[in-house]
Structures are given as structure tokens and as C-alpha cells.
């Protein structure tokens, strides 16, 4: 898995509402971006002078070829606010693809993709690749957010034939409640059917903590795509430590992750 650091140009920004937007980038020369696996990410920074010093991490949402790829972001703080103003033609510095992604689907085992809000991209790419491999039902998307505006790119999933269950906390679309409730229901069904499943989750940390508990309690293989504050994204600053069980107390979100087996993460 080779990464590179390269200049890219914004090709388009598609605003999705609710602060979400898709940024399409084109690298100035061919890169390894098309080797990205779902969960791998890029570090992105614009021509931002001396403030907003560090790049921001974004999961790879999709790629067309060795130059064209896109990310899905939500306006959160100053960096994403700045990115949300990017115009076609703006230059960006990019490093990636970085990290280790989710395991690929295995024969005879359904992957339950649990996405919360802006945690969608890795799972969206996982679903895309399953569909492209002619096995859209090798994965099932359980997708939750606060409200209707937090569920974006649903059309894509529907178009691919990805089995899909939605939940919103305000009930504005799908089931009312959290995506973890969908997961518990789905696991109960799997248990009843004797179906082999595994869990792939990405979303806000409290959601991941809940998914982890559910997965561990159910004895189901569970993989979490974590977010930690990152400065470099390639294993140098040691800022993105993830507390783990094992021979050492920390591993690194950017190089060992961002995807970690649930049982490895040292959380309550």
C-alpha cells in the first residue's frame, strides 16, 4: 500500500445540505489513490497560509482513476468551514491514501455496515465495491443520523441495490432512534437465523463505543473506524494514539488504523 504526497485541484464542490458537501479533486499527476481500500484516508490542506496549520483527515469516498477522487465532509470547525468554500480550480495539498481500511467481504458472511453521520464514506465505498463486484448484498447498510439532513448519498446506495436501513433520532426518515437500535435488531435476526455476520462501523465516537459494546456482547467480529486528532497522518507526530490492549498501551490511528478490531480498543 503506497501513499504519496501530491498537489490536486478542486474540480467540483457539491453541497448536500445540513453542512455536508462532496469535494471532487483531481491530482495534478497520477497517484496511488485508486488503490485505496474503504477506510483509508487522505490528509488535505488548502493554500491556507500560516493559520490552520495542519492538514485534515478525510476518508476516501470514491475514486475514478489514478487522479480523480472525492471526499465527503461536514462543516464542523474552521478547517471544514474553509474547505466548504473551496471553488473549482483551488489548489489542495494531499497526502494519501493512508492507513489500513476495513476487511473485504468474505464469502458466507454478511457485513453489517453501521454508519453514523459523516462516518458514511468508508462504508459507502465498501458498499460500492461490493456492488461493483456483483454482490451488493454481501453488505447491508445501517445508516443513522440526527435528522433527515444527516443521511446523505442514500440514492447511491439504493441505486447499487445495497440493502439499507435508516434511522434518525427525530424520526424524520427511517426508524426513530439510534442506528445502534437497528444493529441490535439485525443481530437478533442473524442470531435467530444462524447467519454469519460481522460489523463494520464508522461514525461519532459515542456511537462507536456503543457499537463496540454490542458487538463484543454478541460475540460478533467488529471493526471500528476511529477518529483521533491527527497532525501528520503518516506515523510521525505520534499524536493520534489509540489506547489499546495488547503488548503496548497505544497504537496509532493513522498507521495501525483507522480501522481497529473492537476488542483491541481500550475503552470502558
Amino acid at each position: 500500500m503506497s501513499a504519496s504526497t501530491f498537489s490536486a485541484t478542486v474540480e467540483a464542490r457539491r453541497t448536500l445540505g445540513g453542512g455536508y458537501f462532496v469535494l471532487s479533486l483531481c491530482a495534478d499527476a497520477p497517484t496511488p489513490i485508486a488503490e485505496a481500500t474503504p477506510g483509508q484516508f487522505v490528509m488535505v490542506r488548502g493554500a491556507w497560509g500560516r493559520d490552520l496549520l495542519n492538514p485534515r483527515a478525510f476518508s476516501v469516498l470514491a475514486f475514478d482513476d489514478a487522479r480523480r477522487f472525492s471526499i465527503l465532509a461536514k462543516v464542523f470547525g474552521r478547517g471544514t468551514a474553509r474547505l466548504a468554500e473551496a471553488e473549482p480550480g483551488d489548489p489542495m495539498s494531499v497526502t494519501g491514501p493512508l492507513g489500513r481500511g476495513f476487511p473485504a467481504p468474505r464469502e458466507g458472511r454478511v457485513q453489517l455496515l453501521v454508519a453514523g453521520g459523516v462516518g458514511l464514506p468508508p462504508l459507502h465505498l465498501q458498499a460500492r465495491q461490493a456492488a461493483a463486484a456483483g454482490r451488493p448484498a454481501a453488505v447491508e447498510m445501517l445508516y443513522g443520523g440526527r435528522s433527515r439532513a444527516d443521511l446523505v448519498l442514500v440514492d447511491d446506495l439504493e441505486g447499487w441495490g445495497t440493502p439499507l436501513a435508516l434511522a434518525t433520532e427525530d424520526g424524520s426518515v427511517g426508524a426513530r432512534g439510534r442506528v445502534t437500535a437497528l444493529l441490535e435488531e439485525r443481530l437478533a435476526i442473524a442470531r435467530a437465523r444462524g447467519e454469519a455476520v460481522e460489523i463494520l462501523a464508522c461514525g461519532p465516537t459515542p456511537m462507536l463505543a456503543a457499537v463496540r459494546r454490542i458487538g463484543l456482547d454478541a460475540g460478533v467480529a467488529t471493526f471500528l473506524c476511529l477518529e483521533e486528532q491527527m497532525a501528520c497522518g503518516f506515523g510521525v507526530c505520534l499524536g493520534c494514539a489509540v489506547p489499546v490492549h495488547g503488548p503496548r498501551p497505544y497504537r496509532y490511528c493513522c498507521t495501525d488504523g483507522p480501522v481497529f478490531p473492537a476488542e483491541e480498543v481500550r475503552w470502558p
Binding site: 503506497s2 501513499a3 504519496s4 504526497t5 490528509m43 490542506r45 500560516r50 493559520d51 490552520l52 496549520l53 495542519n54 492538514p55 495539498s93 497526502t95 483521533e228 486528532q229 491527527m230 497532525a231 501528520c232 497522518g233 503518516f234 506515523g235 510521525v236 507526530c237 505520534l238 499524536g239 493520534c240 494514539a241 489509540v242 489506547p243 503496548r248 498501551p249 497505544y250
Partner: protein, 330 residues
């Protein structure tokens, strides 16, 4: 009113000589990667040509491996960042066995940053690095300034007498030149530099991070698990330049390696003109792994534009602003 700048005929970038010497060592450029922002270098090989660096400084090495601080360890601030990594490192043995060979083979100046948690472990670390190193290490950069470890760090870095004793002991234990990296948290930076110089330091690195804090008001918590972290990046550059200039003026024959917020060739030249002989680049490497190569070329072009043929000639060339016409009260 200020007079026009002194005229110097511009030069082609190729005519600019970036080779320099620091404490008796030869470097192909004055630009080094800073400790803690370069790890042990391997990660950079995919992104940049490491043989084009002037040198590199490793992550701080302690006698035993260390696992570092709880998370969150970093956050961003205005034109800067805070970190509290906790001096995580692989320890002397693993460093010498697994990390040094790669660095040695790059053919650039290799500086090993080190520290202990108390007096004896500092000396032990200097001794073992120096003994085990063969010809592979050019400089031991002694970190007496990291604010992130509870024992050691901060006191060594702010009390001149303590720094003097510690430096002396390490210099005696080491066959490799020792450059002491000073803490900007010290009230009297010149006093600190003087103390370590008299103890036999071959030079000083200025500056390490400045202790700072940031608060997440929504969670009512510090943004860094250890509450305080070290501030780096362009925000601290004016403070770093001032300290370099103060030390250079007070101790003209002590070689200085300038550090703090360097992101461009112009930043590097500011440090050289303030009196630093070499310059380290830290935080800038996170956003741009190839930053040093770019900065090197920017420095070369800028020196050419300003007609400075030789990087050694740029060191400390600062002139005072010409005095105003005296005021005669009416």
C-alpha cells in the same frame, strides 16, 4: 522614513553555496528536520528525497522505551499546535539496532535527540548512544526542555546551575559533540546558554516548544489530556527569533541551531540573519512531508535574489535600523 535596502547584485540560484559547518561538522545545507516531527525517518522515504536534507534530528531517545501520554495528545491553535506526546520512543537499544542504520545510510548529518528522566539516566543515555554508535551519529542533541514529563524535563531546562551540571556530566560521558536544546520557558535564555556553553556544549538548539493550553468550552475540559502541551508552529517564530538573536549577540562563538515555525525559505533566512548557523523544520513537516526540500530551494532562490553567495555569510548579518534624525525640541 527608511533608506532603500543595500544593493547587492543578484545571483543565479545555482551560484548560491548552501554548505555550512556546525560545531566542526560539515553539512550540505543548513536545514535539518526537527526532533519529534521526523520520527526515525523511514516514513518520509515514500514522500521526499531524504538525501537532500542538511541533516535530521531523531525523536528523543531515552535509555528505556517509553509509551507516551494519554490521549488527546495534540490540538491546533492559531498558527500553531499544542502537543503532549510524552516523549514516546523506542529506547536506546532498539534505536541503535533498528533505526540508526537507515539514517546513517542517507549520508546526511545525523543528530540524535536524547533525554533521561533524572540525572543518572541522562548520563546513561549519552554514554550508551555514544558507545554504541560507531561513526553513525554526528551530534547528540540533549533535550533538557520537554515540558511533558513530570520528572526531570522542566527543572533541568530552567535552572542554569542544574543545566550546567547535567551538560557537563553528559559531555564527559560522550565521545560525540553535545548540542543542548534549550527551553523557551526559561526566564533567562542567555543565562541558560552561557551555563551549558561553559559546561562544554558544542552548541545550542533554540527553541523547543513553549508550554501552552487550550480549552474545549463545550466539554469544559482541556483539549490535551495532560492539560498543558508544547506550542509549536509559526505562532512562536517571533519568540524563537528573539531568543536566537539574544544568545547570538551575547555568545558570538556558540553555534546556534534555530527552530520555531519555519515554513519557508524566508523564515529560514530570518533565523540565519538572527545568528543561527543551522535551522530546523518541525511542524511544517506534518502538512508537507517534502517541506524541507521546498524550503531549501526557496532559500537558495532568495539568497540569489538578495545577492548572498554563501550561506555562512548570511549568519548574523543583521544591521540595526539607521537612527532617525535627532529631535531638537522647538
Amino acid at each position: 522614513m527608511s533608506a532603500p535596502p543595500p544593493a547587492h547584485a543578484p545571483l543565479a540560484p545555482e551560484a548560491v553555496d548552501l554548505r555550512t559547518r556546525f560545531a566542526g561538522l560539515e553539512l550540505q545545507t543548513p536545514l535539518l528536520a526537527a526532533s519529534g516531527c521526523f520520527a526515525y525517518g523511514q516514513q518520509f522515504a515514500a514522500f521526499t528525497d531524504l538525501r537532500r536534507l542538511g541533516g535530521l534530528v531523531t525523536k528523543g531517545i531515552s535509555p528505556a522505551p517509553r509509551y507516551g501520554n494519554p490521549v488527546p495528545r495534540i490540538c491546533e491553535t492559531a498558527a500553531g499546535m499544542l502537543n503532549s506526546i510524552g516523549l514516546e520512543n523506542v529506547g536506546v537499544d532498539a534505536f541503535l539496532a533498528d533505526k540508526l542504520p537507515f539514517l546513517r545510510d542517507l549520508g546526511v548529518s545525523v543528530w540524535v535527540n536524547f533525554f533521561g528522566t533524572d540525572f543518572p539516566t541522562y548520563v546513561e543515555c549519552a554514554e550508551r548512544l555514544s558507545a554504541g554508535a560507531g561513526a553513525g551519529i554526528d551530534v547528540l542533541e540533549m533535550n533538557i526542555s520537554c515540558p511533558n514529563i513530570k520528572h526531570g524535563g522542566i527543572e533541568f531546562g530552567t535552572v542554569p546551575e542544574v543545566a550546567h551540571r547535567l551538560t557537563k556530566a553528559c559531555v564527559e560521558a560522550s565521545s560525540i559533540p553535545i548540542v543542548v536544546k534549550l527551553s523557551p520557558n526559561a526566564g533567562d535564555i542567555v543565562g541558560m546558554a552561557q551555563a551549558v556553553k561553559e559546561a562544554g556544549a558544542a552548541g545550542v538548539s533554540l527553541i523547543n516548544t513553549i508550554t501552552g493550553m487550550a480549552i474545549d468550552v463545550r466539554r469544559r475540559r482541556p483539549r490535551i489530556a495532560t492539560t498543558y502541551g508544547g506550542l509549536s508552529g509559526p505562532a512562536i517564530k517571533p519568540i524563537a527569533l528573539r531568543m536566537v538573536h539574544q544568545v547570538a549577540r551575547a555568545l558570538p562563538d556558540l553555534p546556534i541551531c534555530g527552530i520555531g515555525g519555519v515554513m519557508s525559505g524566508e523564515d529560514a533566512l530570518e533565523f540565519l540573519m538572527a545568528g543561527a548557523t543551522t535551522v530546523q523544520v518541525g511542524t511544517a513537516l506534518f502538512a508537507e512531508p517534502g517541506a524541507i526540500v521546498r524550503i531549501t530551494e526557496e532559500l537558495r532562490a532568495l539568497m540569489g535574489e538578495l545577492g548572498i553567495a554563501d550561506v555562512v555569510a548570511a549568519v548574523g548579518v543583521l544591521e540595526a535600523i539607521p537612527p532617525e534624525v535627532p529631535y531638537v525640541p522647538a
